[in-house]
């Protein structure tokens, strides 16, 4: 049982939950995540440990409410409890000893970047964070990252900071030179675009992958990704990998496996919320999501 101590809205759909988890708070290292199981019937979902307060025995989860399970979590209020939080999982980030690192965060990926930037800063690596959002209200964790070094904030509509995508800002940073390593976390198209820049520039690039997971301990193989032609289980061998070697097409493709289910679950949730009785329970798409998902 893990009590929720605080829930703060960071953007239109991103929330920061502070949750009791003393053991994890004590031993987690940057780059690690947990599997959260809200209660009976709930899904097990992976979430990065965005921050910890070891003394208070709490961890912060920065969650983007995009589907049934994440919306259930972001609606929790202080005092609510989460049945299970398993972890810490995954290999900690391999941190360089010195030099200059650029941390690129797209959307909720910024929450994954934060603990990495904090750890880099703590060991004396110069950090430049490049984060972005559609518009001003979508920018998250800017202050926290400013505590770690320079921050370049980009908005697609130019309503705040630099107009344009994070990748444009990264291109400038790379052109300026002196970048030893890049950490990039965000939606697949963003990470793919990042390595499209860092690859030719021959800059080491670490990405954190988010395939669909179940157990998080290596027992299902659902999280398999291909890196350098070799199949890897992201939950135990990752989630961070050499971005220049990741098969992003396969990752994006596998992430879409349950699209029709996710849509149905969301619609059912909405219907329940507004008090409608839909009559029928959420049905699995008729011919397996497989066929259902085909164009």
């Amino acid at each position: 049982m893990h009590r929720v101590l605080a829930n703060e809205q960071l953007s239109p759909n991103v929330y920061r939950l502070v949750v009791q988890a003393p053991r994890i708070a004590e031993i987690r290292r940057p780059g690690q995540f947990v599997i959260v199981h809200l209660g009976p019937g709930a899904e097990r979902i992976p979430l990065t440990i965005a921050d910890v307060d070891a003394a208070a025995g709490t961890i912060s989860l920065v969650i983007q409410g995009i589907g049934k399970s994440t919306l259930d979590l972001v609606e929790l209020v202080p005092g609510d409890v989460i049945d299970g939080i398993a972890g810490p999982l995954g290999r900690p980030t391999e941190l360089p000893e010195h030099g200059h690192a650029v941390c690129v965060g797209g959307g909720v990926g910024t929450a994954v970047i934060l603990p990495i930037a904090q750890a880099l800063h703590a060991r004396g690596v110069a950090v430049t964070s490049i984060i972005g959002g559609r518009s001003r209200e979508w920018v998250i964790l800017e202050d926290e990252l400013k505590a770690c070094g320079e921050v370049v904030t980009c908005t697609d509509d130019g309503s705040y900071g630099r107009p344009g995508f994070v990748t444009t800002a990264l291109a400038d940073e790379l052109a300026r030179g002196g970048v030893d390593e890049v950490f990039a976390v965000g939606p697949v198209p963003m990470m793919r675009a990042v390595v499209g820049l860092t690859g030719p520039a021959e800059v080491k690039t670490t990405v954190s992958l988010n395939p669909i997971m179940v157990d998080g301990t290596g027992m299902c193989g659902g999280c398999r990704v291909t890196v350098d032609g070799i199949v890897r289980y992201a939950c135990v061998e990752g989630p961070e990998f050499d971005g220049l070697r990741v098969d992003f097409n396969e990752l994006a493709d596998r992430q879409s496996t349950y699209r029709p289910f996710e849509k149905a679950a969301l619609e059912h949730r909405e219907a329940c919320k507004i008090g409608l009785r839909t009559g029928a329970p959420v049905d699995a798409p008729p011919v397996g999501a497989g066929a259902g998902a085909r164009p």
Binding site: R23, A42, G84, L89, D215, M219, C220, G221
Partner: protein, 491 residues
């Protein structure tokens, strides 16, 4: 005298040996095959008391019972059957439970046909006594009357034992150690206890209520279950060893093995572990569960063991119009329990024998569309004594499918062992133990699949029981390997 299962039974009448021998093995009542291939209700419905007592009459009460030798944990089979025959089900249940901690489970999932029932004297001249069915009957009665047969609480020893993993090995050891008065904490990586019994074996073969009741019984005995605790990450083994007086590792062999053929990462390809975990542990077969699972229409399952049978029969229940097993040997060689194969056949599962996948094919959106297989021929016997399948060149053929489940085995998970440098493991990552079950780390014992490689429930339970006895001896200072807690002061 005639004994008709429908007629009221008068068990007091002693039967003559001839009458006894004339009794036919009772048939397990089961759900109709067509109906059950569309639901998750248990296939076997269980014997009625009348059928059970009738079947118990068939036991010859051999003075030298081979069945006991055939049982990996040496359950005193004739004894519990005799109590049952005499109508004393309570004593039957007590007798059974004193030998076997989870008889409700083993009565359903043991491969009796190659164990106790194989060596039953009656098998020589006809059909063996239905020992598994009788075990299940007595055990289910015992679970319903748990309060009546509970032993008195043990005197506390003040010793603490950590158990890692809550599968049959861990649960058995926990029960035995609690009975002996030790304070037991079970650490389980998942959010629920039971191991393969809850995430692997489906509801239609082993209802989850039954496993939950066993876990509740342990909790009532004072066992603490710490779920979501992964040893190797949440705590390391050396940490546990420091905090507890002894440790028992029973983490199973849970890592899925894939075929290593092209196309295995296409959408619609599952490991059996993932497929069954989604369906069973995460309840994806129930309405309104949050965890999704694909409902394939044409499903192929690769493998021939219990895991493969469970996956293919699950797919049928989730609506697959065709569900096919692809196995590289023949029907005779299937390692699955005979009953499961029989049930699968009844449920319309198709079997493609002597075939092995070479490639998984997909469409442009990377959904699986078929599996390419090569024909196999059985060659000379290999180390396991089974004839080795060899591919026939140029014999490739495709089986169309929209979902593929790989059920060709599992191996050890390095999560725990990699944080315990002092723990000796084989080159395959299985933990090495001595006869007592102790590992290379004093006070740390291991058993079940993580020692044997993927085996059976009953062997895992046997290991749990043996390790519990060894741990008890160790805690009382009677096990030779016991190093003194503190180095003896030299005068």
């Amino acid at each position: 005298m005639t004994l008709d299962p429908e007629a009221p039974l008068t068990p007091k009448v002693p039967l003559t040996p001839k009458e006894r021998m004339a009794l036919k093995r009772v048939a397990m009542p089961e759900q109709d095959a067509t109906a059950r291939s569309a639901n998750f209700g248990e296939v076997n419905l269980g014997l009625t008391e009348q059928l059970a007592i009738l079947e118990a009459e068939r036991c010859l009460q051999c003075p030298k019972p081979y069945c006991i030798d055939g049982c990996p944990v040496r359950v005193n089979i004739p004894q519990f059957i005799r109590f049952l025959r005499d109508g004393d089900i309570k004593s039957a249940a007590q007798s059974l439970l004193s030998d076997n901690a989870l008889p409700c489970v083993t009565g359903r999932v043991c491969p009796q046909e190659i164990q106790c029932e194989k060596v039953c004297l009656r098998a020589k001249t006809g059909q063996s006594v239905a020992i598994g069915h009788l075990e299940r009957f007595v055990a289910d009665w015992g679970q319903r009357h748990a309060a009546e047969i509970a032993g008195s609480p043990a005197v506390r020893t003040g010793k603490t034992v950590a158990i890692v993993g809550s599968g049959p090995a861990g649960l058995t050891a926990a029960g035995e150690l609690a009975k002996l008065g030790h304070e037991v904490t079970v650490f389980e990586a998942f959010h629920a206890a039971g191991g393969v019994l809850i995430y692997g074996i489906p509801e239609f073969r082993l209802p989850k209520d039954i496993v939950a009741a066993e876990v509740d019984r342990l909790i009532a005995q004072g066992v603490t279950i710490e779920a979501n605790a992964i040893i190797g990450t949440t705590y390391t083994l050396p940490e546990l060893r420091e905090k507890f007086d002894a440790v028992f590792i029973a983490v199973g062999a849970g890592l899925p093995v894939f075929m290593n053929v092209p196309g295995e990462n296409l959408k619609g390809v599952y490991s059996a572990n993932e497929y069954l975990t989604r369906v069973n542990l995460m309840g994806a077969w129930t309405e309104g569960a949050d965890t999704p699972v694909l409902h394939g229409q044409r499903v192929v399952v690769v493998g021939g063991g219990n895991v493969a049978m469970d996956a293919v029969r699950t797919a049928r229940r989730l609506g697959a119009a065709s569900a096919t097993i692809v196995y590289r040997r023949g029907r005779e060689e299937l390692p699955a329990r005979a009953e499961e194969v029989h049930h699968a056949e009844q449920e319309g599962v198709e079997f493609e024998y002597l075939a092995a996948p070479t490639e998984v094919l997909g469409d442009e959106s990377r959904w699986v569309t078929s599996v390419r297989c090569v024909r196999m021929a059985l060659g000379e016997p290999d180390e396991s004594g089974r004839r080795r399948p060899e591919p026939i060149e140029g014999s490739e053929f495709d089986i169309p499918c929209d979902m593929l489940v790989v059920a060709i085995g599992t191996r050890s998970n390095p999560l725990l062992t990699q944080t315990a440098p002092d723990l000796e493991v084989t080159k395959w990552g299985y933990i090495v133990t001595d006869e007592s079950g102790m590992t290379s780390m004093p006070g740390v014992f291991a058993g079940g699949d993580i020692v044997r490689g993927a085996a059976t429930v009953i062997l895992a339970m046997g290991d749990g029981k043996r390790a519990a006895a060894a741990i008890d001896a160790y805690l009382r200072g009677e096990l030779p390997a016991l190093p003194s807690a503190e180095p003896a002061a030299v005068a």
